[in-house]
């Protein structure tokens, strides 16, 4: 998108600059405020007017996050659950998306509508029956108790994103490979999959972010402290009446870092992938 910048009046230039700064400040401010809060002492926080910058860098809160709760364990749990549900969702979604975009299936439109409908199940409505299901299968307080629902809940959006991507790859490329003696499977692995890598990355990020952020099922299914995830973990620092904000802020920052890193690294590809998939889906 390196087009020549359109001619702008000074007023328009100012407007654009204002809009961009508002977007950047608005998006980052709450997170940055948590970072600042996390390195303040309790005393520095209880000042009004607010003292914006801490007088000294104080990382004691970060240490306390790990000693007061097994936060390293929460982090490991979240990482495991999110990665495995991402793998499961992609492994299941990719063949389905391939079939929906490439094969001559009767009722393809209906199937796609059904997939969309599945993305509209209110999770809270599934809480009790899923709880029973997991208890029946003796899966409470285990990774699969979260991996299975997370993969299932993200499956519709993963399928829709991948369908959009597969559909954008010209069929002629596969046909050519098959003419050259490749099997359909060979055409899939050697032609379609490499070309749809951006779509797979987008879908995988969607599943990962959804899984990392999920709260309700994690709160209800994995109640043992050693099986908690970070989204539940950050809520465990508040007492009955007290909110140790510097401590909570530090936990929030640690819990958000993977998301911020993923977004920063993949922003270009991710926005392209989301916008390509989102509007068509």
């Amino acid at each position: 998108m390196e087009d020549a910048p359109p001619r702008l009046t000074p007023l328009e230039r100012a407007g654009r600059w204002l809009g961009l700064s508002a977007l950047i400040i608005g998006g980052f401010f709450p997170f940055i405020w948590m970072v600042l809060t996390s390195i303040k002492t309790e005393g520095e926080l209880q000042k009004f007017p607010v003292q914006y910058l801490p007088s000294a860098l104080n990382f004691a809160n970060y240490a306390q996050v790990f000693t007061e709760q097994p936060f390293a364990r929460f982090f490991f749990n979240s990482l495991t659950v999110s990665l495995l549900s991402t793998v499961l969702a992609i492994v299941v979604a990719a063949p389905a998306a391939y079939a929906l975009s490439r094969l001559n299936i009767r009722g393809r439109g209906v199937l796609l509508t059904v997939v969309v409908a599945f993305s509209m199940f209110p999770v809270v409505s599934l809480l009790v029956p899923l709880f029973r299901l997991m208890r029946g299968a003796s899966l409470l307080n285990s990774y699969p108790a979260l991996i299975l629902p997370y993969a299932a809940l993200s499956l519709p959006v993963a399928i829709l994103t991948l369908v959009a991507f597969f559909s954008s790859i010209p069929r002629d490329l596969e046909a050519a490979a098959m003419v050259d003696g490749s099997t359909r499977f060979g055409a899939l692995t050697r032609v379609v999959l490499p070309l749809s890598a951006p779509g797979v990355v987008t879908a995988a990020l969607l599943v990962f972010v959804n899984s990392w952020n999920e709260f309700l099922l994690a709160l209800s299914f994995n109640t043992r402290l050693s099986m908690r995830t970070v989204s539940v973990g950050v809520t465990l620092y508040q007492g009955e009446f007290a909110f140790p904000w510097p401590l909570i802020a530090a936990a929030v920052v640690i819990a958000t870092v993977p998301i911020v890193v993923l977004i920063a690294v993949f922003q270009k590809r991710f926005v392209a992938g989301l916008t390509a998939g989102g509007v068509k889906a």
């Binding site: 809009g19 079939a99 299932a152 099997t183």
Partner: protein
């Protein structure tokens, strides 16, 4: 149906027949894992919920057993003032936050679409609220809105808009406003992403042509860009409406900190409390069916839109 591509690929066909399973079988095999996961984890529990809504099942009163009561719990629901309040809250927050997320999201998308050296940073700023865990968003904003040391109070006092810090979370009306602002911050990103996708699909020549014809930027925004964004806006609107109806995490975190609970309780939170705190699984199932019905109504609009768009 699948579009016939220009290549009729004559030589490929005999090939396929010779060594591969029929397309029907292939389709079934490729779709089966997804169907299994969706039906096992989402559809089956939903059907169980439908069934549960017809039985009394209170863990707090095990003496009752689990008798079949038909639609009695539905009758109970319609007479339940707390359900009425939760439904009204849900719809109220829904309308305000959906409208709010468009009012904020569209300018966000326009700003992020601007060619600029800051584009990368702008994209991260756009994605961050969307990717932030909702519970954490709730915690962060509860802190920003803190009644004594909150930064929003500080900014308002420094600029002279208010004299004394406001007790945002413990004043009912202000708590509602605080929650709406939080949800709008969190969800505007989603609208912006979809709109950004729409903007990138608009050929630059169109606005340039309008420019040459002497249209102002405001005119070309309302006459050219906005109409071309209509499909994106419709998609964003439907998905935002569904997520707005089901909102849970942010109200849940706010309620922990705000005494104005009744005004903040959404249907999702009421279902959660009925099942987990009051252990009334039968009635929770009935409430869940109600929430699902509301979601379904929105879905129906979506399906109509998709069909209509084809």
């Amino acid at each position: 149906m699948a579009l016939p591509s220009q290549s009729t690929s004559l030589p490929a066909k005999p090939h396929r027949f010779r060594r591969e399973p029929s397309e029907g079988w292939l389709a079934v095999m490729l779709l089966a894992p997804a169907a299994l996961l969706l039906c096992g984890i989402l559809l089956f529990p939903m059907i169980t919920t439908l069934r549960d809504s017809l039985f009394v099942n209170k863990l707090t009163e095990p003496g009752l057993g689990t008798p079949f009561v038909g639609f009695q719990q539905y009758v109970q629901m319609f007479g339940d003032p707390r359900f009425g309040q939760a439904l009204r809250n849900t719809l109220f927050f829904g309308v305000l936050t959906v409208v709010g997320s468009f009012l904020v999201g569209i300018p966000m998308a326009l700003a992020a679409h601007t060619p600029s050296r800051l584009r990368g940073l702008a994209r991260v700023a756009l994605l961050l609220p969307w990717a932030m865990p909702p519970v954490i968003t709730g915690l962060i904003f509860a802190w920003l809105f803190n009644g004594q040391y909150g930064v929003f109070n500080d900014l308002l006092v420094r600029t002279g808009i208010i004299q004394e810090p406001l007790r945002w979370l413990s004043t009912p009306g202000l708590a509602v406003a605080a929650m709406v602002i939080t949800i709008v911050w969190k969800t505007s990103s989603f609208v912006a992403l979809i709109v950004l996708g729409g903007l990138q699909g608009i050929p630059r020549e169109l606005t340039e042509a309008a420019d040459v014809d002497g249209a102002t930027r405001v005119q070309s925004f309302f006459r050219i860009i906005l109409p071309m964004l209509a499909p994106s806006l419709a998609v964003a609107f439907i998905f935002r409406s569904i997520s707005a109806v089901q909102v849970f995490d942010i109200p849940y975190t706010f309620i922990q900190q705000a005494p104005a609970q009744g005004l903040l309780e959404t249907l999702g939170v009421y279902i959660y409390r009925t099942s987990i705190e009051f252990l009334d699984f039968g009635y929770a199932a009935t409430l869940s069916v109600a929430l699902f019905a509301v979601s379904l109504a929105v879905t129906a609009v979506y399906v109509r839109f998709v069909r209509g768009g084809d």
